[in-house]
């Protein structure tokens, strides 16, 4: 029995189940921001593993490793082709990208580097440990790219994943509010699009499309270029300021 449960079926089933529950809750509540399917799925999945651990007198970490991880890893692997597929929306907006490519690259490298100072300062302010601080750094990159970068500079990739998930939740819930408060409609559209794409990844792109086609295109561009920028800029920042 225990050996069977350790096969990938368990993790795959739990993942799909909790996500579907999340989707159902999200629909039922007409899109209440805390019931984003991913957030619900993540919390519910952890709760299931905690209960499982309590019932079997084991630790949650052990249950996670033995029973959930084999299946979870299979789903996780598909982030490789999915992340790679972001090249497609970028290519679809190649007309806009060609026009602004230099501005985008400069803005995302410089902006990405500058925002690292901000994140570092906030992390210090709240007294995060070195592992968590390092994990916070690359979160502007999409999760599948941010996790290995975080690991490379000594961060806990699980915390990075959580940060990236929260990015999407925050942008989903607060994009309109933040755009208003920070007057993001009054600045050139390219900037707004890049900001939304970097901060909210796919969710940010969806929000940006609602603002206009230039913003949408720039957000799609940002998802790809900020990942490249983080990959280069974060290790440099970590070398200079983190250790």
């Amino acid at each position: 029995m225990a050996a069977t449960l350790a096969l990938p079926f368990t993790g795959i089933f739990i993942s799909i189940l909790v996500y579907l529950i999340g989707q159902w809750l999200f629909d039922k509540t007409n899109g209440f921001f805390l019931f984003t399917p991913l957030l619900v799925g993540m919390v519910l999945g952890i709760v299931i593993l905690m209960i499982w651990a309590k019932m079997t007198g084991s630790t949650t970490a052990a249950v996670y490793k033995t029973y959930y991880k084999p299946g979870g890893d299979i789903i996780f692997w598909f982030l490789n082709p999915a992340t790679m597929a972001f090249a497609i929306p970028l290519y679809r907006r190649n007309d806009v990208f060609k026009k602004y490519w230099l501005d985008c690259v400069i803005a995302l490298f410089v902006g990405g580097f500058v925002s690292l100072f901000g994140i570092h300062a906030v992390a210090k302010l709240f007294g995060l440990s070195a592992t968590s601080t390092a994990a916070m750094m690359p979160q502007a990159a999409t999760t599948a790219v941010a996790m290995p970068i975080a690991q490379g500079i000594g961060g806990d990739p699980a915390v990075t994943a959580m940060a990236c998930i929260l990015n999407a939740v925050v942008i989903y819930a607060l994009a309109e509010f933040l755009i208003k408060v920070f007057r993001l409609k009054q600045i050139p559209k390219v900037g707004t699009g890049l900001g939304l794409g970097s901060a909210g990844h796919t969710v940010g792109s969806a929000k940006a499309v609602q603002l206009g086609s230039v913003q949408g295109a720039m957000a799609a561009v940002a998802v790809v270029i900020i990942a490249v920028a983080m990959d280069i800029v974060v290790p440099i920042y970590a070398n200079l300021f983190l250790h």
Binding site: F86, L108, F126, Q139
Partner: protein
């Protein structure tokens, strides 16, 4: 790389998966060449290669679009395991989970605002330097 498909007709899904698999395979090989101190993740390289292949028309949009869109539409679900992964770091979460959450939320806002304004600044400087007036900025502003 691929045999010619009739115009605009989507390539069979297995061919599309084959293109993805081939690019990821090469990306993994390239990724392994980088040192531990400078990790370049496989999907990042894959993304760049796919974009170059599309931009140079070696791979056509209809040869990757269907599978790619499917993958992107499922991406939120695929993040469930990386979220549940926290179950393995619950000690860390108990110690500073709340701080982690607050910092993540603030970091999102920092990234949004800093990059938006740096982007705006770069565009303005670029326009000053080239004397270029952006046509869609102007027309769309006029329309508002």
């Amino acid at each position: 790389m691929e045999k010619k498909q009739p115009e605009k007709k989507a390539a069979p899904i297995l061919v599309q998966m084959g293109i993805f698999a081939a690019i990821l395979f090469v990306s993994a090989l390239i990724s392994s060449l980088f040192p531990k101190s400078f990790v370049v993740p496989t999907p990042l390289i894959g993304m760049i290669i796919l974009y170059i292949l599309l931009a140079t028309h070696i791979v056509k949009l209809e040869q990757v679009e269907k599978f790619g869109d499917l993958m992107i539409s499922l991406i939120a679900f695929m993040f469930v395991p990386s979220g549940v992964q926290l179950a393995g770091s619950l000690d860390l979460m108990k110690r500073e989970g709340l701080q982690d959450i607050i910092v993540s939320v603030l970091a999102t806002i920092i990234i949004l605002v800093v990059i938006a304004y740096v982007g705006a600044l770069v565009i303005k400087i670029h326009q000053k330097l080239t004397g270029r007036v952006d046509d869609d900025e102007e027309t769309e502003k006029g329309a508002n």
